[in-house]
Subunit: 370 residues, 2 copies
């Protein structure tokens, strides 16, 4: 199973003040930043910045409790991801940096520390996640627009579930909802089934009474993985090696007999993905949210013309950009109610007493194991 | 330009009666038939059958005036096309064949000879086309259900335009209408632009004030082809060779500047098609209706995820299956009003005095030049 790394960057304790801060600051914060894209091992550095003044109108001060280190975050730093962060000239309002920086991190669980005037529906202590992409979550505390956060339902999520709820669970949830109307007993086909999204797909599908056929790579401990996914609710788990078995089409047909498969979720691409489309019925939708094989999606044109296949992509970032605050909060309520299993994870705490160089090294080590 | 072949199978003249027919028949008809799929040169044969008795209730007797020989018709005979004709045990009600046959041909202009009781909205002399796929149009006359024909508007179409209106023009019309809402000045990108559908796309797009970027294969007389397509209304005509020119993206961007391309029509597949998708804006739809290259449609997954590309197929047969009689007739009225240019064609008349063997050879020759 993929193990998630979560970063904790608590504010520096008061005895560190003298070392890092001007006398006017009460606490000091940390951020993992870079000034130009490139190899994260080279470009990332840790930066100390003063505590935040009270937030301006319609803004919030938030403390970031836990921030995942996602593969896409690394791609952003490398400069190869379509979403780009903005350069920021100040990490604490009123305190200009000598040189603008990018702050790493997209996803996080944050807690509201202080609410500016004019903010409605949010209060101190509320848990929130970022509605704005590339918000720079690898930091201790930030001042943000009230419209850039989504409030989480109170007391329903663990800290780890809350910190990892922004990207993967909603990707799974929306892909299962937005493309094909599925009812109890209908089937969903997916690859990369042990990815974070894939595991969420299995759980959400099972909660709706949908059946899943899940493909994963073969591996020495395949039976353990199959059991883990079955425990999450997977109906069948197969490996890409099974695709060379000609009898598999017949088997799948027997399973799905009176309900041809109309939804396939893909994060792999390349040949195995094309082979999987032969299990689809007419009028099916193939939704891609990743390309782990780095191969293009090569499909027979006849599948589009004669089987009426439709191929889409899904990007949760676009979903946030095109949906209202109310829709976002409704989505979070729906996800919280599902009580998804916490992803396998480790929490890496960058402590206040570490020097910037030590913090950088710890962050580096974490990314290597991610 | 592709030249269409159209088959004319007039009824046999009365002096042929004695040779082919029982004494009770007044005229005799011809059909191009086969009993098993395979190489058309081997499996096709011509068959003579008696004239039709009056049609039963809710049926029509029709005379087939002109029937195209389409590439898909050949694929049907070869057994490699998804739509299969039904075996028929009788070409004239009440007269059983010794062995059931498939009758070739899908598309035709027919004229109503006689109307059975209970048929409404159709009368002797009306021009009709086939609403049912694989109706066996390579024949002189047939008895059909009234619901299996679509009435054409009177006096608006030439015989050739009417005979070729069932498949290609509606494919073009519907692809331009059903996937993206396009307004005057919007752009459409297509390949195979000198195909029958491609030429219809150019004309229909021009009639709606849409601009087209059209790709064709390079050839010695490319300037003549470019002029022909421009005369039909093409905005720009390029060859697949032009795709290797890196500056082309910039050129296309200049052309389409404030209106990124949101619709691409594809009948080719393979690498040039994938290269063309780089000209598309976000939220574009790629609609495939053919695969002349016989290569799969291989697209970068990132185009689906980050540009929100959606890939569909279009098959006019499915459209007919899923639309009402009123919708079909409205489509024909819309197409007739467009006054599309007659496709380049030759009419092959299989005369009554030809023997079955001669008729078969003539049909063979025609297909070779199609």
């Amino acid at each position: 199973m993929l193990r998630r790394s979560l970063l904790r960057l608590p504010p520096l304790p008061s005895n560190a003040r003298a070392k890092f801060c001007t006398s006017s600051t009460k606490f000091a914060n940390r951020a993992i930043v870079y000034t130009e894209t490139g190899n994260p091992a080279t470009v990332l550095t840790a930066l100390t910045y003063p505590s935040l003044p009270p937030p301006p109108p319609n803004s919030l001060n938030i403390r970031i409790r836990l921030a995942p280190i996602n593969p896409a975050d690394i791609n952003v730093i490398e400069g190869v991801y379509p979403a780009k962060p903005a350069l920021t000239g100040s990490l604490s309002p009123g305190q200009e940096l000598t040189k603008p920086v990018y702050v790493g991190g997209n996803e996080a669980l944050a807690e509201i520390l202080q609410v500016g005037s004019g903010v409605e529906g949010l209060k101190k202590g509320d848990w929130v996640i970022m509605a704005k992409q590339q918000a720079g979550t690898w930091s201790s505390a930030r001042t943000v627009d009230a419209s850039d956060v989504i409030k989480l339902p109170a007391d329903t999520l663990s800290e780890v579930n809350a910190a990892t709820i922004t990207v993967n669970p909603p990707t799974a949830y929306n892909m299962l909802r937005d493309f094909v109307e599925l009812g109890e007993g209908d089937w969903v086909l997916q690859n990369g089934a042990n990815s974070a999204v894939g595991q969420a797909v299995i759980q959400i599908a099972a909660s709706r009474g949908l059946k899943t056929i899940n493909f994963v790579r073969n591996r020495p401990d395949i039976d353990a993985l199959k059991k883990q996914l079955s425990d999450l609710g997977a109906t069948h788990v197969l490996t890409y090696d099974d695709l060379s078995d000609k009898a598999l089409s017949r088997t799948v047909k027997q399973w799905t007999e009176d309900r041809p498969i109309r939804l396939m979720l893909n994060c792999v691409g390349g040949k195995p993905t094309a082979q999987m489309t032969r299990f689809l019925g007419t009028d099916a939708h193939l939704v891609s949210y990743g390309a782990m094989s780095k191969q293009p999606l090569a499909l027979p044109t006849s599948a589009f013309i004669f089987k009426n296949l439709v191929a889409h992509g899904f990007w949760q970032s676009r979903w946030y950009d095109t949906h209202s605050r109310a829709e976002r909060e409704a989505l979070m309520h729906a996800l919280a109610a599902l009580k998804l299993k916490e992803p396998e994870h480790e929490i890496v705490t960058v402590l206040g007493w570490m020097s910037d160089v030590e913090a950088k090294e710890k962050n580096q080590k974490t990314r290597d194991s991610a």
